[in-house]
Symmetry: C2
Subunit: 183 residues, 2 copies
DNA sequence: GGTTTCATGTAACATGTTACATGATTCT
DNA sequence: AGAATCATGTAACATGTTACATGAAACC
């Protein structure tokens, strides 16, 4: 079992912002990275252990208070993060269940297909609102994010907004084209 | 090892169009499903075996000529396909390396970030052309796709087109916003 | 006092990719 | 004749999720 790759960079990145516990990392990916990156405990804790072993992170001394275990990025970890950042991004393999179902939509009733697309549209509309809200939170209060980072974070939110809008548009036009179909 | 789920529905769907060999299935996902769904041999062949065992597909009699093994969907398989089509789509977990790198873009030079985004833009531009070409091929010659299915297939291509365009737009605006940044 | 959230962790499972092995056929 | 494509398959690896177990602290 490797249980490493990909997650280690997310963890290194989060720890480069500030020292955190495993729980903090999970919370960060659920809230800040919501919709772009996900982590789960079954991955986080074993990965943290391996990263300690390889010297990419370390326990924060004096902070091992109650039952929390706080980690910080080391110089070696910072180097590893920078190295990864400069590497080419490999395009991920896509497996869209929606597209698959639509392609075999012949075997589905028109109504069921429209219903499926409506549900997708609802999801994207919810997401759009979520990203717009996050964007407002970013611009209003200074929050914990530094000004420089906020430019990057705003770009990420814009990506969510643009993609959600595109998906909504597509759902609508596809529903319309199906309604025009006879049978 | 299960080596089943998800792939079985792609296979059932493809076989519902016409009987095919494992190789045909791979080719179909590379060409027709390109960008929406991917399959690999390490998955296809073991899955086909399991599907034979569970009676979802069968060998096409008399067609086991040379070294090709052709499979066809059974009535049970058709039922399974329809059942899956009516099930709710679960939203897939997202892990976007690009977004992760952008979020930690603080640790990257501005130029490197812009370069990264340019490369992404190029990829999406290539994809856009690919989808537009596929759309033209669909409308010009009748190809092998039936008229009814072509409506669904066109919707899929439209999805690729709209998404590619949205991504290009986002790359451009993000590059611009970074260029305006000092430092 | 009970529920929710915080907090850490493991084991089993699910899923998917890559590398390798083999050999026929077709194209140049 | 040699290279590319067709064709099938396995084993090892890589990766990721879910369910379970445990218990403290905070909230209501």
């Amino acid at each position: 079992m490797s249980l490493v790759n990909k997650s280690i960079y997310a963890i290194l990145g989060i720890l480069s912002i500030q020292p955190s516990t495993g729980y903090d990392i999970k919370r960060y990916s659920d809230k800040v990275l919501s919709g772009f990156w996900n982590e789960n405990f079954g991955h986080i804790y074993p990965t943290l252990k391996k990263m300690i072993e390889s010297g990419l992170i370390e326990n924060v001394p004096g902070e091992v208070e109650d039952r929390k275990i706080k980690y910080a990025i080391t110089e070696k970890g910072k180097g590893e993060l920078k190295k990864w950042l400069s590497e080419e991004i490999q395009t991920p393999a896509v497996r869209s269940e929606l597209m698959l179902k639509l392609l075999f939509g012949n075997d589905m009733s028109k109504e069921a297909t429209i219903d499926m697309l409506s549900k997708q549209k609802d999801i994207h509309e919810e997401n759009l609102i979520k990203y717009l809200t996050m964007q407002q939170e970013l611009t209003c209060e200074g929050s914990q994010i530094t000004a420089k980072r906020s430019v990057y974070y705003n770009a990420i939110l814009r990506k969510g907004i643009i993609n959600s809008a595109a998906n909504i548009e597509w759902c609508e036009e596809t529903i319309e084209s199906l309604k025009k179909l006879k049978g």
